[in-house]
């Protein structure tokens, strides 16, 4: 199956070098309106871009030393990281920071030049509501299963999962399960592929995948594939490349990736590329952005598209990174 892709027309091949150039150009786009509007995503954006580069097999394309400098400059005394220097600490940017440091193997620098792993662990664990098991994004208390997953992700990479009440958190995830097999952002909320990913991944990290109704969920996930081959996030919604990650990684975690038509999905993702300027968009013909780029590539990696590094379905980092970090 894989060899047929090289015989496809150019637009259905992976434009690797264009994507690398696109990601490298991102920090130079300071004059673009969208750039300053998304300041609160700066560190997250760096994680997306860097992961994409690693999956493309070009980890050197962004300078390692500057990356570490930037990441550490976002850290607060509390141990948490803000989205950009001067921004308040938040769970999501903290998780991105940990993921980036794991990716470029810089936990040592975190110890020597940053506030150290333990402090980061403390920051994260302090965000858990010990009564409900849920996690807030910051001291303001907005709760969302994304934060729960983020906490598990970062803590397990740091080897500090024991700092939090795992069981209580697991109970909360179970409370977010719905009749259709999916999971929502909170109990009662509609099943949504993004939330499903966070819940299933969190359960996986906690070693409690047994709590998932695999058949129901798998069925619901396989229904995300629409006629054009792309995946949507909920019934009767439009397909979007980022669901190539949320849906596919969830299927991978429950061992049902083959419930999706791979060839059609690959063709869809490749059709969302901008072959000349690089980057991937949500749908063919739309404007590209780094978010859809990393998730499109991660999806292709899960589908074993040739030339990409294998991605870990739980952490959305290269498998090699996870092996290195978790084996230590």
């Amino acid at each position: 199956m894989t060899e047929t892709f090289s015989t496809l027309p150019e637009e259905l091949q992976l434009a690797t070098s264009a994507h690398v150039k696109y990601i490298q150009s991102l920090d130079t786009r300071k004059d673009q309106y969208e750039y300053w509007l998304t300041e609160h995503l700066r560190l997250n954006g760096l994680y997306w871009g860097l992961t994409a580069l690693h999956l493309l097999g070009h980890p050197e394309a962004l300078p390692r030393a500057e990356t570490i400098d930037f990441v550490l400059s976002c850290q607060h005394e509390s141990g948490g990281f803000g989205a950009a220097p001067g921004h308040d600490a938040h769970m999501l940017s903290t998780v991105s920071a940990v993921q980036i440091l794991a990716l470029i193997d810089a936990f040592d620098e975190l110890e020597t030049r940053g506030r150290g792993k333990a402090q980061v662990g403390t920051y994260i664990s302090n965000l858990q509501n010990r009564q409900t098991g849920t996690f807030a994004g910051d001291e303001w208390g907005e709760e969302d299963t994304r934060f729960l997953y983020g906490a598990f992700n970062a803590l397990s990479l740091l080897g500090l999962l024991h700092l939090v009440e795992v069981d209580k958190a697991v109970d909360h995830i179970v409370a977010c399960a719905n009749f259709d097999g999916g999971y929502g952002v909170m109990p009662g909320a509609e099943s949504h592929a993004g939330q499903i990913f966070t819940c299933v991944a969190a359960l996986t990290i906690a070693g409690r995948k047994d709590l998932v109704d695999v058949e129901r969920l798998g069925r619901w996930l396989s229904e995300r594939q629409v006629a054009g081959g792309g995946l949507n996030g909920r019934p009767e919604k439009k397909e979007d490349v980022c669901y190539s990650w949320w849906v596919l990684s969830s299927l991978e975690m429950i061992g049902k990736t083959h419930w999706i038509d791979r060839d059609q999905l690959i063709a869809f993702i490749l059709g969302c590329q901008d072959n000349e300027r690089g980057g991937i968009s949500d749908r063919p013909g739309d404007t590209v952005d780094v978010w859809h780029t990393v998730f499109g590539l991660a999806g292709l990696s899960l589908l074993e598209y040739p030339g990409l590094q294998p991605v870990d379905e739980v952490y959305c980092l290269p498998k090699s990174t996870i092996e290195r970090v978790l084996r230590r």
Binding site: L26, D27, D31, Y33, Y35, W36, L37, E39, H40, R42, L43, G45, L46, L62, E66, T67, D69, F70, S73, A83, A84, P85, G86, H90, W140, G141, E142, V174, A177, N178, F179, D180, G181, G184, V185, M186, P187, G188, A189, E190, S191, D213, R216, G218, R219, S222, E223, Q225, A227, G229, P235, E236, K237, G255, K256, T257, H258, W259, I260, D261
Partner: protein
Amino acid sequence: MPPKGKAAPKPKGPDTTKPSSSSLTAAAQPASSTATNNTTPPATINERSQRRVDECQPYEAARQKAGLSGLSQAEQFGWVSARFARSDAAARSRLGPKSQRELWRHVNDASLPVRVLKKKLVSNPWGVDRNGRDVGSYSPAQFDDRAAKRITLTVLAAASQAFRDRRERTKRIALEDQQNPDVVTDSEVQEEHERRREMATLRKELYGDKMPGKLAQDPEWDDVVPIPHEEPEGSLAAISYPEDYAEAISYLRAVMQNKEYSPRCLRLTEYIIGMNSSHYTVWLFRASIVIALKLPFVDELAWLNKVALEHLKNYQIWHHRHLLVENYYPSIAGSPEAVASFAAQEQAFLSDILEQDTKNYHVWSYRSYLVGKLGLWDSAAELAAIEAMIKDDVRNNSAWSHRFYLVFSNPAHSTAGTAATEPDPAAPTPIVDREVQYAQDKIHLAPQNQSPWNYLRGVLVKGGRKLGSVEPFVADFVRHLGVDDKEDVISTHALDLLAEIYAEKGDKEKADLALRRLGEKWDRIRIGYWEWRRKCLESPAAAAGGTEAGVAAAVAA
């Protein structure tokens, strides 16, 4: 200096040269005064200056043209006399007293200028305007206009300083004597604000000065020192802002650091949200202000509603609403009427906004939160609202999902802790019946719509019913299964459910047929799933360990 006793003659202006009695001087009218355009006004300031220079040195222009020997004797005499009159006493003392007296008589009679305007050797002696143009090239009218502007600016600056001084004084006095009623009024502040705007405009016009930021110009913000963004040198992900936004954020940093919760800060948050509604921190700060100042909750909600309708994809808005409700609810919790009234208000707004964006995930999540918070489980209005949405769009999965929650998570008839996909003995039979019927009715409207099929199945499971209890209904959507030319599947979801029903009954053959046809024809894209279901029929254990390779082999077979 002329010899004592004689007053030093004042140099006369160019056009006030009186006709003189002296024949020498009469003939010696300065050449330049009859030259070209003394009657026409100068076109530019530079020209005017040049004329004045020339008028102070009456014979100079001619001498430069023709040389001293080219002048008439009277002109030569005039030129020399003017030189002597201008030089110092030591030079004149070479003339002897009688000659000096004659000199001065001549100077007086001929009204020779004693002082001279030096032609400025500096280029652009009047300066340049904001376009880099020499102000000396302005016409006199333009120049006067410019001068008038400068005077206006000076006057305004003085008034602005007076305002600041007054404000300082009243502040000081207020500290010492709190009874003193003298305060700077709003209209004074308003006046000052306009004054500053005018000054900024003038400065820009005159000197090309950059307009200061809106907040820097606002007298209300004078006491705040904004904190500019600091970007480490050559940083990897450097940020650059449009100016208004950058200024507003720098003020935000300052007031957030001081934890100032005030009306002006509330206005600042609104201003920033207007420029970037997804700025995370500004929403949180606004919430603190509303709570700290105990602002009327209804006002804040009314404002929020407006913003929500303008920024449909923004989720901070909904978290803000959540914070407000959490904060407000304790004050109405004791009164069922107040809760009902608030619920009705919220339901009205939710209907409005869902009309704009029917499947907005944040709105629906907030709605489910509200149901739990305000106890709307038995609210007929809530159920009716959801039914209306499904009626409008039977494919709205969010509405279906909310309905399930509303009906089956009602604490009055559900068992806490029951898993989502497991039966709940507390689910009342009439309700289960009703929901089954409802789902079936909606399926008829759009048989290939996934939501009511998921719903139907979910209801049956929740109610502990056999899937087979709806077999006649389901079978209606599949005709002549397995019969070559006649097979007609109106809904693949029906065929899927039918396969389950057959399996439930123990009819493996029919179940397998249904699943095979789904993979072969009716839903080929999901063949991986259908094949796995077929394996399940053989032995559930084998299916549990189903691998991709195994399925691929089955597909290829």
